[in-house]
Amino acid sequence: MFRDVFDKLCWIFLAIVIVSLAVLLYATTGAGNEKRSSGPGKALEREMAYRTRVELIATLYAPVENLRKEGNNQTALLKLDELIRKYPAEGHGHILQGEILLSMGAFDEAVSSFVEGVKLNGDYVDAKSPLSRRVEIQRLVSDGMKNITQRASVNPDNRTLAASRQKINYLKSRLAGGCE
C-alpha cells in the first residue's frame, strides 16, 4: 500500500482532494445560509419600494386631489391630462379620472377610465393595497349592471351599450380575482 514513492504520492494527492472537497462543501453551505438570511431583506426592499411608490403617487397627484376637493373637476381633468401624458404606464391617473368623470355624470367614460387603470395596475381591485379602490369599483359594477341592463333591454342592438357592458364585465372579473 505504501510500498513505493508513487503509492505515497497517490495517497497524498487523494487526501488533498478529499480535504479540498470538504472545505468547498463547507463554504457552499455557508453561502446558502447567507442567501437564506437575505430573503427577509429583499422582502423589506420590495416593501420599501412599494411604499415609496405609493407616497410618490400621493405627492404627484396631490394637486388633482386638491382641485377635486375644491369642486374644480374640469381643472382637475386638465391637470390629469398632463400627468397621464407624462406617466403613461401609471394607472393612478386613469383611476382618478374615472372618479371625476363619474361624479360629473359621464358614466360610460368613467367605466373606460377605471378599466384602463385596473389594466395597468391590479392593486386597485386588491382590498389590502393602500391604493385599493375595490369598494368604489364594486359600486360602479353594481350600478353599471343595473343601468346598462335596463337601457340594453330597451335597445338590444345598441353597440355602445354592449361595449359598456363588456367593460363592466371585465371589472367584475377582476374583482372576482381574474387576471389580466
Binding site: 381643472t75 391637470k79 391630462d81 368623470l101 359621464a106
Partner: protein, 299 residues
C-alpha cells in the same frame, strides 16, 4: 382582318359603355355639415370622412357645408338627407323636421359628451360665480350647446340674469369664437367667458394655454355634442349601412382626397362614434326650455 378590326372596335365600345353605366348607377346622397369655424376648415376635416362613407357604403356622398343659421331652412328645402350638426341643431331638426339620430361623435375626455364652463383669468379676483355680476362677459355662438346654452342656463340657475346682471355681454365676431373668447379672458379683453370644456381641453393639450391660467367658476353636466342625423324618409337599408360604417370607423381607416391617403379620424379630429339614445339629449331639451331658445322658445 376587317372582321377582326370590327370585333375589336365593338368590344372596346362595349367595355366603355359598361364602365359608364356602372359609374352612372351609383346613387348620389348629400350630407349637410354644419360649419364649425370656417367652410375651409370644415371641408378639410370632413371630406375624408365623406369619401370613407362613399367607399364603405357604395354610394357617392357629397359634402354640403352649411351655415348654422341656414341649416334648418336648407334641410327643409331638401338640399341634403344626412345631417352633421351640434346637438342643439339636431334637437331643432328632430323636433321640427323629424330628423332621426344616427350616431354621436366622440372627442376628448368626455367621449361623446362635452360640458359648458364659465371661466375667469386666475388672479383676476373673480373666484366664484357670484363674482361675475357687473362684469364683462363673452359668450360663444347663440346656437352653441356648450358655448352659450349651458352657461346661460347655469347663470339663471344661480340667480344671475345675463340680460340684467352683467356689465355687458358680447359674442366675438367672425370664426374661432371659442378660442377667441378664451384668449380674450386670458389677455383681459373680457372678465369672464362661456367656454366649452372641449376647447379648453384642446387648447391645454396643444400648449396654447396652461391649466393654471384660468379659474373655472362653474361647469355644466356633460351633454352630447356633434351628431349625425338622417331624414325620417331616408332609405332604411342605406341608413343602416351608414350607421354601420360610422360605428366601425377605426383610427387606421384612410380615404383618398386629391390623390392623397388621409387618416379619416385624425383629419376630422374625432375619436369615433357612439350609438347614444335620443333620450340622452333630453338634458339639452330641458336647458333649451329654461333658456327659451329654439326649438322651444316662446314669445
Amino acid at each position: 382582318m376587317n372582321r377582326l378590326l370590327r370585333i375589336c372596335i365593338a368590344l372596346t365600345a362595349l367595355v366603355m359603355i359598361a364602365g359608364c353605366k356602372t359609374e352612372g348607377k351609383r346613387q348620389v346622397v348629400k350630407i349637410g355639415y354644419m360649419l364649425c369655424n370656417s367652410e375651409q376648415e370644415t371641408t378639410q376635416r370632413f371630406l375624408p370622412l365623406t369619401k370613407y362613407l362613399s367607399d364603405k357604403v357604395g354610394v357617392d356622398f357629397v359634402m354640403v357645408p352649411v351655415d348654422t343659421h341656414d341649416f334648418e331652412k336648407r334641410f327643409k328645402a331638401g338640399e341634403f338627407q344626412f345631417t352633421h350638426t351640434n346637438s342643439l341643431i339636431y334637437i331643432v331638426l328632430h323636433e321640427n323636421e323629424g330628423v332621426q339620430l344616427l350616431a354621436s361623435e366622440k372627442r376628448g375626455k368626455l367621449g361623446s359628451r362635452s360640458a359648458g364652463t364659465i371661466i375667469a383669468r386666475k388672479g383676476s379676483g373673480i373666484n366664484k360665480l357670484a363674482d361675475i355680476r357687473g362684469k364683462r362677459m363673452a359668450f360663444g355662438p347663440m346656437l352653441a350647446p356648450t358655448g352659450y346654452l349651458a352657461e346661460y342656463d347655469m347663470m339663471l340657475a344661480a340667480g344671475i340674469n345675463p340680460e340684467n346682471d352683467l356689465g355687458h355681454y358680447t359674442i366675438p365676431p367672425g370664426s374661432y369664437k371659442h378660442e377667441k373668447l378664451i384668449y380674450g379672458v386670458l389677455y383681459g379683453m373680457y372678465d369672464v367667458a362661456a367656454a366649452p370644456a372641449m376647447d379648453i381641453e384642446n387648447m391645454t393639450r396643444e400648449g396654447k394655454i396652461a391649466a393654471d391660467d384660468i379659474v373655472i367658476l362653474a361647469q355644466s353636466k356633460p351633454i352630447p355634442y356633434c351628431t349625425f342625423g338622417v331624414a325620417k324618409d331616408a332609405d332604411p337599408a342605406l341608413v343602416k349601412k351608414v350607421k354601420e360604417a360610422l360605428m366601425s370607423l377605426k383610427p387606421t381607416d384612410t380615404a383618398e382626397v386629391d390623390g392623397e391617403q388621409l387618416k379619416v379620424m385624425k383629419a376630422a379630429w374625432i375619436d369615433g362614434y357612439e350609438e347614444l339614445l335620443d333620450s340622452d339629449y333630453d338634458p339639452i331639451r330641458e336647458m333649451a326650455k329654461r333658456v327659451n331658445v329654439a326649438p322651444f322658445q316662446k314669445y
